[in-house]
Symmetry: C2
């Protein structure tokens, strides 16, 4: 089934202990779409500037991502520069140039209206809500957000959380959103804000999914997927969006949504996140094979599997 | 089979977001012994002062821990005071009074010489080495250490690491010991210092075991056990030692040491750590049943198990 992803397309300058890269194609919609494209049909809604060339667009098209929803605006594409120091889980932002992203008003092409799933990447929660309202018939909506909106647009975010079925955020965001230092208690509070399920991403430690009582008939126990300990993390940028792409992509590829599918989706999320960080930018996500993905899935499974 | 544990016995003053407790029985040897006592025969070597009463000793004896190796010295027992703020993984020390622990010279009673397993709790690495040399016939030695010794007694610690089969430390200690920010690379470097296996404890995210090439014939792939997301962590003190007690205790209870046993041991470590933090001090570890332990083991197993 098809997923529509809305989010950012960006050019990033990235410095990590492993090196640096400039003007690499990034953004939440890009990472999400590439990761999800290995599982299902993906359509993207985003905005780019005049510096976004046919060559850039072909990165998505080669993965059969439908790019008709990418709006080409006057001006420059969103740019971000940041560095990761010893703690690879946290980026220090050097600069943010919103450029064409500043006035982004997502428009859903008519051809996208029949999308089965929706992923609301990390953009202003009011825009996320607009997109969700434009697609009243989607089966399931996944969403992301960040500290910036939790602090700066909390009222709009509260509205959006009612429209999202599965929220995917990290530990720090969950604690900030719930104003609660215990992660499981934070999870309960976030679930009370609307979502049926909450995926909390723990970086190199994997991810946990918490369910609202009765959600999807999957039982109330949380489920945790470990991540692979990767020796060389080249560039953590986009790991979270790649996780979301693997997670949502796998769900969209299945006939049914049950506990086992959600559990496997959490593993596939970790798999795609682990590939993303092996190279700068989206390089690794551009040239994977389904066999490589299945192989790593098995490694992840073995990592915690008791006989 | 029997485990001899050497370490500290202490009285702790603890403040956490959930409350406070004063003069509670603690110390690495205490937590370890109580946790391991649910799996196998445990003997303890430690030092206490005149304030350590028969009632305190009975806490261990009720769990059938052999306390003949506890030396009663003149003066006061080791005391520690600390508080855990929002980040429950880290304690801020208010005071440390070494007292009788300052001149501790572990003496192994003759009745302990036939011990099958040895656990070197977190004491000066030179003392750890002495104990190990006094027990040349143990099948397997587990060991712990901390930042204080990594920085302040690195030469002695390097010696001790050659005498330890399985080292159990946390993320920060592993990175500091290896002077390496990537955890899997840090693991490789620590394994090159001596141990056949390295357990890195991730607090609420579980633990990972890394093996040296060829160690125990278990293959080189790491294994990871998740921890249970616990809603109310009352007191994190002793979680690591309780983990070690569950891990080593389960290994000592098994006929063979193979990959499956080590994997299960890692789960049992997490189980005992998760019980320890539910109450202040050792309260929860004093009154468990094997059924409760098995029940939680199943919850942990389900937490990551794919069909």
């Amino acid at each position: 089934m098809s997923i529509l992803a809305v989010g950012s397309v960006a050019f990033d300058n990235i410095a990590t202990p492993a090196g640096r890269a400039e003007n690499v194609l990034g953004g939440s919609a890009t990472y999400f779409s590439l990761a999800a494209s290995y599982f299902t049909e993906v359509r993207v809604v985003a905005v780019v500037g005049e510096d976004f060339t046919a060559e850039h667009e072909s990165v998505l098209q080669k993965r059969k991502v439908d790019t008709r929803g990418i709006e080409h605006a006057r001006g420059k594409t969103f740019r971000w520069g940041g560095q990761y120091l010893e703690n690879l889980n946290e980026a220090k932002t050097d600069f943010t140039e919103l450029n064409v992203f500043e006035k982004f008003q997502p428009r859903i092409p008519a051809e996208y209206k029949d999308s089965d799933f929706l992923f609301l990447g990390n953009i202003h929660p009011a825009l996320q809500a607009t997109v969700r309202h434009d697609l009243p018939n989607v089966q399931l909506t996944g969403g992301d957000t960040m500290n910036f909106w939790i602090q700066g647009a909390s009222r709009e975010l509260r509205e959006t959380l009612r429209l999202v079925n599965i929220l995917l955020i990290n530990d720090g965001e969950a604690k900030m959103l719930a104003q609660e230092s215990s992660l499981p208690r934070a999870a309960l509070k976030v679930l009370a804000m609307g979502p049926q399920a909450l995926v909390i991403k723990h970086g190199e430690y994997g991810a946990t999914i918490f369910f609202r009582e009765g959600a999807y008939g999957v039982g109330r126990h949380p489920f945790r997927a470990p991540a692979l300990p990767i020796e060389e993390v080249k560039d953590p940028t986009g790991a979270g969006d790649s996780f979301a792409g693997g997670f949502m992509g796998y769900i969209a590829s299945q006939e049914k949504l049950n506990r086992e599918v959600i559990k496997r989706a959490l593993f596939y999320g970790g798999v795609m996140g682990s590939f993303a960080v092996e190279r700068f930018g989206t390089e690794r996500l551009q040239s994977l094979t389904r066999d490589q993905i299945e192989e790593r899935f098995e490694v992840f499974r073995e990592l915690t599997h008791l006989e």
